[in-house]
Symmetry: C2
Subunit: 155 residues, 2 copies
DNA sequence: ATACAATTGAGAACAATTCTCAATTATGCC
DNA sequence: GGCATAATTGAGAATTGTTCTCAATTGTAT
């Protein structure tokens, strides 16, 4: 499975600009940090990774930037039951594609899976529609995560 | 739709005892607080409710008790995207039955639904099985939540 | 090059949760 | 019923993840 950068700098910059925001070294550093392969990073981890390339960056900027990117739909913020938010690139050109998470409650390993994803998506779509009708909600997103013990931790 | 207490005191006590733990007024108060109808309470809310009947109870005890009950599978702890854990009675005699949540991201209203739940459960079961095989996980639980705007907030 | 608003880093502030510890209490045993 | 003992408790301090404040800096349109 080839690893390719999860963000396309040109595309991201265009998007940021599109929302009337500026391109800054801090924002580049956050994009680079998140594009490390297969990552689901906490803010602290993004901070460490970004600091390597841009030592002056502050933690507050990390949070602000992640919040901004999340608002723009470039990044997904999610939570796996410990008390830290995690971030990953959202769907889109160059990203991992629609997937859900399988989380080990012991070692916190997170597996992205997209097996069964078509069936899931189809059912979720129908459910969404049904719920929207019945309860009058305008549904925007969903979360689906499985929790358990990975092979190593199950011993 | 008849409202019945969501916890059966005798049953809960038996369970607590079964785990070698003691029955205390604080634990009773937490059970009572959680059994108010349709509730998905934060720790703070459980604290307030429990305090009404047992004014000496401390917040730390609330957290400890909720953690304990969660460990025993009597209570579900979940999160709806604000930064507070929420608690509800888990499945079991007297409980609400298996359901998922529909969350309004504006007013934080939480709707329990169990429409479509059979299809969902069936798909989730199969997915669980597939994931368990493919990734060697021993899966214990899942979370499925829909996020959107309720009728009032959509305006 | 200039002007101005957006962005930044640092540290203080905050909110939810967990920890510490001495005092209290539920339970098994006589 | 009373005793011994370990579990449980309340209070407040401590911790942790995250957000806020503010003066200094910087990206961008002109």
């Amino acid at each position: 499975m080839p690893q390719h950068k999860n963000h396309n700098p040109a595309c991201c910059c265009r998007k940021i600009r599109g929302f009337g925001r500026r391109i800054t070294p801090a924002r580049h550093a956050v994009l680079d940090a998140l594009s490390a392969r297969g990552e689901h990073l906490t803010a602290e981890e993004v901070f460490k990774a970004a600091s390597r390339h841009y030592p002056d960056i502050g933690l507050a900027t990390i949070y602000r930037t992640l919040e901004l990117f999340t608002k723009f739909g470039m990044v997904n913020k999610f939570d796996t039951g410990d008390d830290k938010a995690r971030y990953e690139f959202a769907d889109g050109p160059g990203a991992k594609g629609h997937h859900h998470h399988l989380v080990c409650t012991s070692c916190r390993r997170i597996v992205d899976y997209n097996d069964f994803i078509n069936e899931e998506t189809e059912l979720l779509r129908r459910t969404e529609e049904g719920l929207a009708n019945k309860y009058g909600f305008k549904i925007n997103t969903h979360i689906l995560q499985f929790y358990g013990l990975c092979k190593d931790c199950a011993k």
